[in-house]
Symmetry: D2
Subunit: 462 residues, 4 copies
């Protein structure tokens, strides 16, 4: 986009606590990415947060040497109009919805997690109809724009955008690969530019292999180091090591979220312990967020505070800025993105969305062909991608049978009566944000289904 | 094989309690399948049972109008020499091994089942090396013979025979589809010949659809009937209904074993209850078997007793006889067999083994191309087939990491420390039958791993 | 369809010279296929032929012991209304169109053939829009009917019906496999029921393998016999033998039409010689047809005359009758049909149409999974299927570039200026029947493109 | 390979006229690619050329500021010992063999070309056994080395190395993509770094698409320019334009060699005209080469002469140097290479070799996933890849039926008696270099097959 005078960015969910990181990312890349205006857009319910974080964003730019307009708005159309890049970091139902996603399964002894298990399915149910609406708006208002999505579950959301939204100019981003590429070179006492990374899989469900500057595979070396030193997991994942014998066979490094699948027992025990004591992750995050917003209110604060790193999504926004800069300046940067497979992961159909090492430049993401995986990884990938496809279809059709299929096939849900109860309660609890399931929810209410977790019960009263 | 004067059958595991059903099947098909000699072969440990059931087999033929020699032997080579058909119904480690497969996982609150979960994986570990030995013998002694396998896990065993044994003249059989095709026509108040069945999937993990004589799909009709009438499950599966909403979306009928996956919670609860009370399935079967062998000792008994039906594997042997007769007489019979995919289930590789509707005749099984499945079924199939492949590779290599991978990806195993403990205890408990894992077992013993389940502990003392 | 009192058959292109064979086929199957009424429908241009052959058809039924109404009509809707089976044997543009398909390429030294090369592409261009119209009518008038197509090119026509017409109850038929299965058993001095046939490929482009009643592959035996005895090709294919060394490597028997691809030089030389002397095949057939219709006019003739066999399409109609009877009476007959692949030919996508051995019964065709082919056959199949897909898309869109792509990839067209000239002349020559290409034809006329072959030139004057 | 003190290069076919370009490429990259020694190895028959061009190579390095040893040897083992990079540019049978590949088909009116049609198949037949020998040597002598192959047919040679040689550290190179990337930016009045290229296909049979720095596809713009300006084809391809309507549908730019397939008629006419007049390409090249070697003899010449560009393979060697430098210095350069597919071209199996855009660095080639092609291109690709596979298998087995299959499926060979005659004569003519076909050649000689082309006949006398 070399010829454009100035760039317009629209950030949906602009009231997010991550916005300062996003601003910081843009500020430090201004020379290669000359932004003219940033539109932070949010919904009525997020107005207060938008105003706080929006004021903070303005202060950050004022403290920079650059002239960039920051607009705050509740009018999504105004924000999207002629945008060059749209970033999405919204959370349908805010953190309260995540509390429900976590607590309702946990009440019944199952994992409730933002992007995995029953909770991840419901986050998809709430988010997909909204993102498809945004895509329709974009077709009218900014048909040339790139959509950089970091709303979770980023893989399913990107898949929905490509498959049902029929919108190809999209990349989904995640901070997990960023974290690995920051931590692992240190383990090897080298720097990232001395290594060659290849990631392949799905969002929050990928593996990677690493070669050194001599072309030798150093994956096993990193694995060895991981067992002697700190593995540097994302803040939101409980740190339980993988079984080393398994990794030795795999010859690849799973992502942090694989713990839910490779150490299900311990991850569940940990989650249930938190549920019983300090509260689930979303409850903890709510506190962190409240603290962050208190900080943001400080009219003297004009840079991203240290505390944001604790939030769990560190580097997300920075990855988004780097992606945008790479597209704009045709930088051909290695970034791990959710994008159309095109064969890069040949064990999955060429037309589905995968998360994969890609070189990002003017033409978007050029995914690197990873080749076939071994049987175990292949099986995992295929079941997870199909679980995603069923979930997305359920989100769009509101079909209860499909929702049940998604629950049943999800490896973190134990199928049976309890799973069905969790499904029913989650439908009831998220009623406001699940218009496609209205008919089913109506039926469930008529049948007298009610939420049992006391905290969610209380939330629903209000 | 029309030109052959008489047929030689070799039955490995001839001392099985199923042998009378097999004899009955051959007797009633003698006109189309003119057998000259049947060799019942077993190992030293099964000698007593072989003699009892062998004598019974001889009485059955004597009571028939046909002249057929029944030979009892412990010499496998003698039995295989120039055989036309080899049937395999052996159980490595006998029912005691199955008791271990069931009780060790159950002790830790997981499913122990003959062909599913941790137990199924270990049955594969024990059986695959033995079947590959048999195949090597067949290459020398009866290279033109057909191998009709009904040793479980029949799918994995057949896959191992084709993939690693490089033996194509094999079919794996199962009584589950037979049961469905016996029961469902009754639900519709019609007969089997008025319906068109299409099965596809894996052994103990398939779905089917049914059309009537007008070509209309009546799958949903059968499903509806199933919820009002008796579903006629195999005797060894606890009867918990599928969620109807799920089946309505699936538009196919899962097999009985799908209960372990679609109603995991209830199946587990039932298994644990049995574990705590009347004993696991193998323990029950041991009693049934003892009763059967008592019956078989009766020198006046010369026909299959009613009580065999309770045993759980009813119709297995009859299916084997029908398969053999169909090959011999080029009958082109519809039989559901484990055979090389060849594309019939296009969601799995063409070179793997699937269980599928086939027309069986002189040229073996002609599998019917079923077409692609919907996302949920596709995901299930792919994860299960890859689990099978990992299991088989582990069985052959004795690689501990692969065994762990197989446990981890198995949907009925909750990954983590407990799963690893179960794996370790099962390795110890089956030491005698796992030569490929000798090194690992030696290490585990050195580390002091011991079996905790009191009954298995007791068994190991002897 | 066991419950129906009487069956209604609608035959589109009822005025075809093949109709008596069709009647004969129905008469001899009446006991299993109790037809009540047959509607022979044709267009205005075929009225005279319809009346002649229709009267003949009535005489045939009158001479039979059965009461069946034969209706003649130009009203397709009336004929389709509530039909149980629709058969299609029409020829858009009649034999004159085929003369053009053959002579225009031949004028330039290329192969003009009914279903292959440039001629086959144009037959598809003319036929596909018409068949899709018929399918739309069927959706309204007889949505439960089966469509049995033997209008050529039968493979592409069936593919268009499934892919673009979204109509699944269709089978395409061809007499080539029938011929092989009639001739080859004689070569082996056996009967068809003693052999197991497996065909796989595309219409007019398939291979087959054969096993005997002992399960032994006898394909090479048949090939050997073919080189010593008469190969019994369809009457319309010049008889030049395949290279035996090639077949020995292939271990399969190609169909007669493979001569165009495996012996292109000789087939072309033969075609050009006929072009220069006795006239192309269509010209010969026109004479045969005229003779046939003279025969049909004989009010004493009430059975299919011997002379029809010379026509080239012998057994086509009989195959259609057998297919219909097999569906109706759920006979599970082995018939080679064009049907949705569903994985039967795993080297082609599961959703495309292939010609393959299938068991035909109440639920339609159950295609037999053939497994992957060797490299050479696989390559041929893939290029031909993609050629078909491009041709069909061109037929529907009328896109000139796609038509050029179809010509270029067709192995029997030598790409270049001459091929383009042939394409342009064929567009001009078939103007009346190519509404989708109207714009291009208008341009070509404006550019002064004219047909050079003197006979076609003369035809176009009228 | 950052830690190595100095690099050893072994160049097989070191006596090639291209060696000076290779030296020039290494000299200009010395700073990033610190070579210590270069071993030029050739066979006895090439000794004279090796000495001439070797002396020239030494002068080139002497004229440079760098100290690099150039060794000339006929001992391949000595050259390979501990090499870091092996480049292959040999020609089995020298240019005389190519004369035969071209003239024997042309005598019969078919295309004889270095890498396409009958000639390309025979170049593969001669080269593949030799390259597999080299690979066996490398396994012993330099198991860590990279093999950079630019011996034609580079795609088939690379496929043979990966598939049968089981050697993964190999890339095949070609100058055709280099040419396109040099010429097309000029057409757009921009520079290469302002464009994003994506190539996919097979060696000498690929297509590419181009985006500009704004991410807009400019492929059609380039196509438009090509029709108004000079298309800049490789010197060895006759310049006949593609049909524009075809490219407009294709939305991709074919490579120069596609002319043989998209304009077969004109390419053949041109080739036959040269055959009749100035001699085939190889005959012309022989003259050019003689001139080059005369130049190389000049003891004052110490840089690559201008005349080399006429030779046809310009930029080949430079591409090889850039590839080696990119591996060594982990440069992550976009280079179009023949490499294992890994899914990059999902219409072909993941385990075959394709020619595709890749980023080349320390870990080798990271191929970019291109996605599925449209039907026509897909069909072409699949038939060509399978033709390659048949050819390679024939080369290794020496099976005459396979050779006939390769000829038959090759789109530039008209199947039939003449094709078989060409096959037979080529076998006779290349007898010396086809040990795998010895038996067949012996049979053909016994049958009295002789070469008819007078010039080749004369060559065979000597």
């Amino acid at each position: 986009m070399s010829k454009k005078e100035g760039i317009k960015i629209a950030t949906i969910g602009g009231g997010s606590s991550y916005t300062p990181e996003l601003m910081e990312g843009f500020i430090k890349r201004y020379e290669e990415l000359p932004i003219r205006e940033i539109w932070l857009v949010d919904i009525e319910a997020g107005k207060e947060k938008l105003e706080i974080v929006g004021a903070m964003a303005k202060r950050m730019w004022e403290a920079s040497p650059y002239e960039v307009e920051v607009h705050l708005t509740l009018d999504r159309e105004e924000a999207l109009k002629d945008a060059d890049f749209v970033t999405t970091q919204f959370r349908v139902g805010l953190l309260d919805a995540r509390v429900k996603d976590e607590r309702i399964p946990a009440y019944y002894g199952m994992i409730g997690q933002e992007t995995n298990g029953a909770g991840g399915i419901f986050k998809a149910f709430r988010t997909i109809p909204v993102i498809l609406d945004i895509v329709e708006d974009m077709k009218r208002l900014c048909p040339e724009a790139w959509l950089i999505n970091f709303t979770n579950p980023a893989g399913m959301v990107t898949e929905a955008i490509v498959r049902y939204g029929k919108w190809e100019k999209v990349m989904g981003l995640c901070n997990v690969p960023v974290g690995a590429m920051m931590m692992e070179p240190k383990l090897l006492e080298t720097t990232l530019d001395q290594l060659v990374y290849k990631f392949a899989g799905l969002n929050h469900f990928h593996w990677h292999r690493v070669a050194d500057a001599d072309g030798n595979d150093v994956t096993m070396k990193i694995i060895d180091k991981m067992y002697s030193e700190d593995a540097g997991l994302p803040a939101n994942i409980f740190d339980i090591p993988f079984f080393k014998e398994q990794l030795e066979q795999m010859k690849a490094i799973p992502c942090g979220y694989h713990r839910y699948y490779y150490r299900e027992q311990e991850m569940l025990a940990h989650a249930l312990e938190e549920y019983e004591t300090i509260g689930t992750r979303a409850q903890q995050v709510k506190e962190t967020e409240a603290e962050l917003f208190d900080l943001y209110k400080d009219v003297n604060l004009d840079h991203k505070p240290e505390q944001l790193a604790k939030r769990g999504g560190a580097h997300y926004s920075d990855a988004a800025c780097e992606t945008i800069a790479s597209i704009y300046a045709n930088k051909n940067t290695h970034i791990v993105v959710s994008t159309k497979n095109n064969g890069a992961v040949p064990d999955l159909p060429a037309d589905c969305v995968v998360e994969v090492s890609a070189f990002v430049g003017a033409a978007g993401a050029l995914p690197i062909a990873f080749g076939s995986l071994q049987a175990a990884e292949r099986g995992w990938l295929q079941v997870m991608k199909n679980m995603e496809l069923v979930t997305i279809e359920a989100a769009i059709t509101g079909d209860y049978g499909l929702a049940l299929q998604a629950f049943t096939i999800n490896p973190l849900v134990t199928s049976g009566e309890t799973a069905k109860q969790i499904l029913d309660e989650l439908l009831i609890a998220h009623k406001e944000f699940l218009p496609n399931f209205a008919e089913t929810i109506y039926r469930l209410e008529a049948e007298g289904v009610t939420v049992k977790d006391p905290i969610v019960k209380e939330m629903l009263k209000n």
